[in-house]
Symmetry: C2
Subunit: 199 residues, 2 copies
DNA sequence: GCGCTACTATGACCGCTGTCATAGTCGGAC
DNA sequence: GTCCGACTATGACAGCGGTCATAGTAGCGC
């Protein structure tokens, strides 16, 4: 996970996202981030003169880009792309992580949003942007699968909302069942939105 | 909201939930809770000898009971109860709060879950219990509406997951659209689960 | 060598946190 | 009155938070 090829700056952003994922924004300290990234503490103020706010915002933005990029990879892994298949793949990433590594971490964007009051407003904007960065490729993929343009965005919102909530419940209950449940229950609705394509 | 009729102990639990809702667990201080509840600081260690952990756990449990109790009230407010109507009512509570008071606060249970690493394991258990306390009446209501028993629980999980995620996105984007969107998109699926009742 | 820039290394500061210890104030019981 | 429990009031403590200031080092052009 921690690719040492990356420079210290990128490692710190990555580590920040990693730690925010676990305990939220307020609970993650700057010194902790530096230690986790095996980066010198002095580099913090050098690379992030904007302080914690800047670091957190970049971590959230990174998470949004990461989630967006994953969508393309999920699509590539599907034999024949369907909305339910995409949703299942998105959820599967979490079930796999949870069964393998435990339920320690959640979505960094969600964590940043929850800590909203404790953060600057710019962090909230970063979270909103991250959600948009994530939703856009999902909506695009749905459209490519034959979902009417008018419903692609709303369904993408539905998918991400449901996934985020299921992640939350799964963490609380230490059980992947919420994730598998929503995949099973929501799948038919998603596939039903596909208009018959020209065979 | 803050009913002065309640004793200082209850007020502190209530205030704790209120503040956790806004900024998360770590960002909420004990002194802050006492001040918000207009309760003497010395009462903290008197009523909550278990410290912050106890206070937070009780706040989370209170939130779970509150959400569960609301379900019955939502049902009472519906002319003819349908799954989509219940879901819409649950979401409406949030859209109303957000349009009236702004997007400052979220779900306290979600906040406690996100801060999991920063909290004791007992808090995670409290969050899991709160979700169960919430889900149970929802599933019961669905069953009463004619949803097959086998699907009542899964659909309740789906409803709560989706709602929690939509709350999250709405806060990040400072827009109730995610909430209205998921209500519109998920409604048909929920109502379709109702088996034809004897007319 | 000098000079410059990029980066690293510490140490100190102040504020806030949760918690503990101690003392004080009620209100009844008797 | 005395005694006692419930509750309140402060003050102090140790720890950690982010941030600033200052000094140091490495590399490179020249």
């Amino acid at each position: 996970m921690t690719q040492e090829r990356h420079g210290p700056r990128e490692r710190m952003v990555f580590s920040a996202a990693q730690l925010i994922r676990r305990g939220g924004v307020t609970a993650t300290g700057m010194r902790e981030v530096a230690a986790h990234a095996r980066a010198p503490r002095g580099s913090l103020q050098h690379y992030f003169p904007g302080g914690k706010e800047q670091l957190v915002n970049e971590a959230v933005a990174w998470a949004g880009r990461y989630a967006g990029r994953r969508v393309a990879r999920f699509l590539a892994g599907l034999d024949e792309p369907t909305p339910s298949g995409l949703f299942a793949a998105m959820a599967a990433q979490w079930t796999e992580e949870y069964t393998a590594d435990g339920f320690a971490a959640g979505c960094p964007v969600a964590a940043a949003t929850v800590d909203a009051a404790a953060c600057a407003d710019s962090t909230r904007e970063a979270a909103a942007a991250a959600f948009a960065t994530w939703r856009q490729p999902v909506a695009g993929a749905l459209a490519d699968m034959g979902v009417p343009a008018a419903r692609a965005e709303p369904l993408a919102t539905l998918m991400i909302s449901t996934l985020e909530g299921a992640i939350l419940m799964a963490r609380a209950e230490r059980d992947v069942r919420p994730l598998t449940t929503v995949v099973r229950e929501l799948g038919p609705l998603l596939d039903a939105a596909v208009r018959p394509r020209p065979a």
